[in-house]
């Protein structure tokens, strides 16, 4: 399940909803990750662009991998501006027993960081500055250079 929201995520209601799904599916382990906007480097927030077609096909492949292990993957991400002490990213894996969810969550978040077609900008004053130095080139980058 992939959910895209305009602006900050309502983390509490998202976690509650997914938690109830994990109970409905008779799963004993529910392991979320929440990413929030920290006060650092003088930013007033972050901003995101998403490319949905590729995001959806990338997520579907991740979800298949998780489901092959008998677990379920959920993810929500913000589009647009997200301010300090708000959250832009929530994901969760739930599984019958603890080991699968616990071992897959870190791997998924790392894959997400390097592979999800999302661009991040720092909001500083009235400017929206692309976070190039914190970004990772996608698969195949540079073939046209």
């Amino acid at each position: 399940m992939l959910e895209i929201y305009s602006g900050a995520l309502d983390v509490e209601s998202i976690l509650s909803r997914w938690y109830r799904l994990s109970l409905r599916d008779n799963c004993g382990a529910f392991v979320p990750f929440v990413g929030s906007v920290r006060d650092e480097n003088g930013i007033s927030g972050l901003s995101f662009d998403l490319y949905e077609p590729l995001l959806k096909s990338w997520f579907a492949r991740c979800s298949d991998r998780v489901e092959k292990e008998g677990a379920t993957l959920c993810m929500a991400h913000s589009n647009g501006n997200v301010y300090l002490q708000e959250s832009s990213f929530v994901c969760a894996i739930y599984s019958s027993k603890r080991k699968i969810a616990l071992s897959m969550i870190a791997e998924f978040v790392e894959d997400f960081k390097t592979d999800a077609p999302i661009w991040k900008y720092d909001l500083i004053g009235k400017r929206r500055i692309y976070a190039l130095e914190r970004s990772t080139p996608l698969y195949g980058s540079g073939i046209l250079s």
Binding site: Y51, V109, F112, A116, L132, S135, P137, L138, I143, S145
Partner: protein, 73 residues
């Protein structure tokens, strides 16, 4: 005719080009200052699939995207 779309922070409007290969696209984009600087760090998707080779023929109606480095979360 193929369309070429520049994603995320690349501020170039979508192009419509009469080209038959990615290699031709590279030749064109290397001549434009605005696009040239992104080529080294950008990935290419054809019809929303990332590719890793220039040896791909383009068909009429193909949608090409340039994707600069990503950072979600």
């Amino acid at each position: 005719m193929v369309s070429v779309e520049f994603l995320g922070p690349i501020e170039i409007p979508t192009m419509q080009l009469e080209i038959g290969s990615l290699a031709e696209l590279g030749e064109i984009l290397r001549t434009i200052d605005e696009s040239k600087k992104w080529l080294e760090v950008s990935a290419i998707a054809i019809n929303d699939t990332l590719v890793d080779s220039l040896d791909i023929e383009l068909k009429d109606g193909d949608r090409i995207c340039l994707l600069p480095p990503v950072c979600g979360g």
